[in-house]
């Protein structure tokens, strides 16, 4: 079926209509703020759950099996399926959706935190202990800073995952930019669908760039991949020949 010939201008009709940008009521600004709020709150809850668990497993290497499998299982869970399951089980509402989003965001953070700690140079940890750091100092002054590139990459892929799945969640009643998209689809208002898609894409890209800036600020240049690529390229990534290791903690976001 060939696409209907729509003049370019029409695609942007909704987006560039000043009325939709009104700060009052449910305009674009309101949806945008909702979307950002859902995303950040979910990410924060997920990090609070996943980081301590990942740090514990990575530091003690107890339960490694768990971390690896949660990471792999998390990637293969169909996001839309999980949302549907949650809604049918608990009912329509913000809370069940947020729970589903958290369930999707925990695995990448957990798996990459674990992988990050395991990738840390053992001789540096050995030196840290030998120089008289206490266990908690070893963790936070040596292991975590060295693992930070992977930990942050897990957080960043969780961020994208949540932002994307929050869009899908409009289908089961969540607010946010996904509303424009879903409501537009149900009323056959393509300019509105297009506006929702463009806005959510721009938001996701901006969030990703922002998180990249945060990454630059918190990760030491000494362990940042690009600055040391020439000397340590191989060590910087998980060993692909080791099948027990997670293939890559970062997946397509959704």
């Amino acid at each position: 079926m060939p696409a209907p010939v729509v003049p370019m201008l029409n695609y942007f009709a909704y987006l560039f209509d000043g009325g939709h940008w009104s700060l009052a009521g449910e305009g674009i600004p309101d949806r945008l703020l909702q979307h950002i709020a859902y995303t950040l709150v979910t990410l924060a809850i997920s990090a609070v759950i996943a980081l301590p668990v990942g740090l514990f497993i990575g530091h003690t290497n107890r339960g490694a099996f768990l971390a690896i499998n949660i990471g792999n299982a998390g990637r293969s869970l169909p996001t839309f399926g999980l949302l549907s399951l949650m809604v049918v089980l608990v009912g329509i509402g913000t809370l069940p959706v947020i729970v589903a989003l958290v369930v999707l965001a925990v695995p990448p953070i957990l798996a990459s935190t674990y992988a990050g700690l395991r990738s840390v140079d053992r001789s540096a940890v050995d030196a840290a202990i030998g120089m008289g750091m206490r266990p908690i100092q070893v963790l936070f002054r040596a292991e975590v800073p060295m693992a930070l590139p992977l930990i942050v990459s897990g957080l960043r892929s969780a961020l994208l995952q949540v932002c994307a799945t929050a869009t899908v969640a409009a289908y089961v009643g969540l607010g946010g930019l996904g509303r424009l998209l879903i409501d537009g689809l149900s009323t056959n208002d393509y300019p509105q669908v297009f506006a929702g898609a463009v806005l959510v894409a721009v938001l996701a890209v901006l969030l990703d760039l922002l998180s990249a800036a945060v990454e630059r600020a918190v990760v030491s240049p000494g362990v940042r991949e690009r600055s040391v690529r020439r000397t340590r390229w191989r060590r910087a990534r998980p060993d692909p020949t080791n099948e027990d290791a997670p293939t890559s903690p970062v997946g397509i976001s959704g």
Partner: protein, 214 residues
């Protein structure tokens, strides 16, 4: 549950069939495009950063948004399965192009120098030495792309083409758990089967990676 499966066998199977090709065809497209693209970025290093940056941007666009803007960019109907295929191909390409480039860069070094010194011509060296050595890393990327695609296809159900996602929208409309659970289980199983399949192929292709393992 059993009753649901028995009563809807045909529909479940056709959803599954659609799911398979909607998720795997894009991987194939991604591989076919990413191999030359990855090679070019290694050959002409100045291409590397732009390709990685573009890939990163495409990658961060949410799937639902990509599904619905494709008709505005290329002439396909808003309900065409091609939307899904094109969108997932974009993701697969973005992921794999970078993986191929990184994998090829990582194997450059003494072995490739040795190969060049022994008189391999560039193309022969690429296919005979560099690609095989880069295979483990590339296969790891392939696994991620495949599994991610399989879990993403069902989002397409929102625009009417989503393989097993069809079971989710049905379950939502009927407020009925059985189709949703069937859909989730089949989707996860499909991902596991494909993932294991790639691992097996990789073992068969790269017997040397196990030679040193205990």
């Amino acid at each position: 549950m059993i009753a649901y499966i028995q009563g809807n066998q045909a529909r479940i199977l056709s959803d599954l069939g659609q799911h398979v090709w909607l998720s795997l065809l894009p991987v194939l497209v991604g591989v076919v495009l990413a191999l030359p693209a990855g090679y070019l970025t290694v050959r002409y290093r100045w291409l590397y950063q732009p390709v990685v940056n573009l890939g990163g941007i495409l990658y961060s666009v949410p799937s639902l948004a990509l599904f619905v803007v494709i008709p505005a960019i290329i002439p396909v109907g808003t309900l065409s399965p091609l939307n899904i295929v094109v969108a997932l191909s974009v993701y697969s390409f973005a992921l794999l192009a970078r993986t191929v480039a990184d994998a090829l860069i990582s194997v450059q070094g003494e072995t490739t120098w040795a190969a060049a010194a022994m008189g391999f011509r560039p193309l022969r060296q690429l296919f005979g030495v560099e690609l095989p050595m880069a295979l483990p890393v590339m296969m790891a990327g392939l696994r991620v792309a495949t599994v991610s695609n399989i879990s993403l296809v069902s989002v397409g159900a929102i625009i009417g083409v989503g393989g097993l996602g069809d079971l989710f929208t049905r379950g939502l409309q009927l407020s009925y758990l059985a189709p949703i659970i069937v859909g989730i289980v089949l989707s996860v199983l499909l991902a596991a089967v494909c993932d294991s399949g790639i691992v097996l192929v990789q073992r068969w292709l790269t017997p040397w990676t196990r030679a040193g393992a205990r």
